[in-house]
Symmetry: C2
Subunit: 474 residues, 2 copies
């Protein structure tokens, strides 16, 4: 396979990153537009990625004690009026069902933009006593927010997500739980499974979720230096509980108002994975999340090659590697290699008659492109070690890019300049809300506020000595 054939497949990232993104979605058979504007078809390979992401996030959510529920797709329009602040935010984004059952509905129903209002109604009913607290609920579902400028995975009119909603007896408990979700679920998943380094911090007042007293965020840097918000966790104080009358009797029988949190992550993370790790040859799937970690490619169709390839797949599966056989030897080898590169399978194991003569096969790393010829009897142990080190090297490369493309800035002008190619790190007391205004006019925003050590500041405390991370974003 000549390099020239590779370069023809995708627009290069350098030339046009958004075009590269569109190209790779199509050529790697990840996703395409649905017939209704803004909707998305998630094809098998990308859905397989999402399934593994979902399982990893879900396991971590359950480990915090939360349970999953399923609430209806349809919400009475009147429900959304209970939270005036949110209606303002969502109204143009709502899809409204006016006809059903063959006739016009007496009250139109809204397709959920979130299930927040339903969670509010139900928690109000389900929570009576301090014994019912904390109530820790989560939902995996599709939601709809009409998009005028859709972009696959990043901004679609319908997307898949999880939304958690919890109620607590005290502010401290709510804060501690939201922080746990943020660090032990989201950050841990993003870094230790997706191999994407993230900056954790809180949002500025302007970027905060409507109704929240504090919004925590995980921000990642994409291949083009822009930021992608990967997941957020909100402390809602007693605002939400007051709106929905979520109260409990404490141990003395006194009625108190709950403190609530909400937190979410979505199919947007698939877009993040593509843009954080992709290169000019396609996507690069980090090994821990890869549905296929190793593809064993039979180079030719002779019996010895085919038998060896099959037995290597079995051997890999036995040691816990997700391996798959490519025995489509009637198709050209180069074309198949290009396909697996596009799809970013971490390791390609090429098995062909020439290598087999000397009892060997060739391991090709997708991340670096390195090829190593290895003796057949050491292949599975070599690959197990390789997959682990690939994870470490991929997140390390991400950390390096983040460091290289983050500039310490002392003024708004410097921050704006840095945001052309990456992030700026500027003291929040230098920037302030007026500086934030100036940035926003140039389509640059405060991605998060951190302590000087890079940790999450205390709940809602924006007066401490914080650093602002500033950049363009998706």
């Amino acid at each position: 396979m000549a390099d020239s054939s590779r370069t023809r497949v995708l627009t290069s990232q350098q030339d046009d990153f958004p075009r590269w993104y569109q190209d790779v979605l199509e050529k790697a058979e990840l996703a395409e537009n649905g017939p209704v504007r803004g909707t998305m078809v998630i094809r098998p390979y990308a859905y397989g990625l999402w399934e593994r992401m979902q399982a990893e996030v879900d396991g971590r959510i359950k480990a915090t004690g939360a349970e999953n529920v399923y609430l209806p797709l349809f919400i009475p329009q009147s429900y959304l009026e209970r939270e005036a602040e949110h209606v303002e935010g969502f109204s143009p984004e709502l899809a409204v069902v006016t006809h059903a059952g063959g006739k016009e509905l007496s009250e139109p129903v809204v397709v959920r933009p979130t299930s927040e209002t339903l969670f509010g109604e139900l928690m109000s009913k389900w929570i009576q006593s301090h014994r019912d607290l904390p109530m820790l609920l989560n939902q995996w579902a599709n939601v709809v927010r009409w998009e005028m400028r859709p972009r696959l995975f990043l901004r679609t009119s319908e997307f898949l997500w999880q939304e958690g909603h919890t109620a607590h007896a005290t502010r401290e408990d709510a804060n501690a739980y939201a922080l746990r979700i943020h660090l032990d679920v989201y950050r841990d998943f993003l870094q230790n499974v997706l191999a994407i380094p993230v900056l954790v911090g809180v949002k500025s007042r302007r970027e905060r979720f409507a109704g929240a007293i504090n919004t925590m965020t995980c921000e990642a840097m994409m291949g083009d230096g822009k930021a992608l918000q990967m997941a957020t966790s909100h402390e809602l104080g007693q605002n939400f509980a007051n709106a929905f009358d979520i109260t409990f009797a404490d141990s003395s029988g006194q009625v108190e108002t709950c403190w609530t949190t909400s937190w979410g992550s979505s199919t947007r993370m698939v877009g993040g994975l593509i843009m954080a790790h992709g290169d000019d040859r396609g996507i690069r799937v980090p090994p821990r999340v890869a549905p296929v970690q190793v593809v064993v490619v039979a180079v030719k169709g002779d019996e010895r090659t085919m038998t060896t390839a099959s037995s290597l797949v079995r051997e890999l599966v036995e040691v816990g590697v997700r391996a798959r056989l490519d025995n489509r030897t009637t198709q050209g080898f180069g074309r198949r290699a290009t396909e697996w590169e596009l799809k970013g399978v971490p390791v390609r194991l090429e098995v062909g008659p020439r290598d087999l003569e000397s009892g060997q096969a060739t391991i090709v790393r997708r991340d670096t492109g390195d090829k190593t010829v290895v003796a057949l009897d050491t292949i599975s142990s070599t690959i197990v070690k390789l997959l682990e080190s690939m994870h470490t090297e991929m997140i390390e490369a991400g950390r390096q890019r983040l460091a290289d493309r983050t500039v310490g800035a002392e003024s708004v002008a410097e921050a704006l300049d840095a945001a052309k190619t990456g992030f700026a790190r500027i003291p929040w007391d230098q920037l302030g809300e007026e500086g934030e205004d100036t940035l926003n006019r140039e389509a640059v925003s405060v991605r998060c506020l951190q302590t000087r050590e890079g940790t999450v500041p205390g709940s809602g405390d924006l007066d401490a000595e914080l650093m602002a991370i500033v950049g363009r974003s998706y």
Copy 2:
């Protein structure tokens, strides 16, 4: 805990089975109505059941080689007109979005009643060559069919399901695959996980899915003797492929039309589990699907009891049992026992100071109510064996009920009489389509047609010597 307190909780099945069903959904905290008529809130315990059901079905689907995709919720109204036969079927069931993005849409969009038309469009595009076949796709999603007479889990305006759609080069391959899904996925799951015996067979022409040349079904008998259709698999011949232009070039380059199948199962199966296994004390969850297989109940709050209960949970988890601790000793023991009975946890392990004096604890089986006092050091091995035999006994009890309440009938009158309490089994050549008319007028239907040996007849062959299974149904 006195029996009198138990009988107060639920209406008895004998007195009013539908009322019992409503009661148990509420008291066992399984599900409730959503605010929009016909919609459903699935509460954590029932959603946990669905998650395990979904995982078991999904694993079996993947084992046949199918892959999951996600297609959009919204479908252009014009798409549904391509398959006139289905529009007729669905039209009054459709929920239609007319407004989005703050204004009226130029073309209304329909909330998917199935994704069939989208699968058709996409397969037409994705399938080019015989190398693309078979194409085996599945989707887990919510769908909406407006219900005038909703019943939780059984008939709701929105429900969760999987729908599989596959395309094949030949009729034989399509038939073999649909049969494999039917027996190795659905029947195997229903019997070997849900412990519900099912009758497999094909639908009569009248009961067949619109557009299918053959519909296979799994029919189960509920506690009241009525039938519930648990899952269906359809061979669509070339009808669907013709409507959507799903063609392929064979190895000689000749363009041929595909043969397609579709198959589905839904949250209706949760209703089936409840009605097939429930009794006057609540639901009874078969051990293989139970999210909690054993609840270890600390009877009192003394230290020895609490420590022993916790260590028994750990010990059970270590041998692979899904065990959970109930240490809410500030609440009455009787109330807690009733709760676990309502929720149908297969085994209750009661740990209290009195038993501990003699190094023992009490195992209570939910299915039979039997109590056994067991030495602490044999508990985990006893429970592992017990869970296996409970599965066998539960499906055996279902088989017995099915046998007891299925009557061999020689005439339409006899069949109608049998359908008052269960099923009738009548030769199809005795019944025929006129007999089917007569049954239908009395709200009795042909549930399936089987060979005399109880197996699935050959594709679309309704002229052989078949037996009709006849009954009332949900």
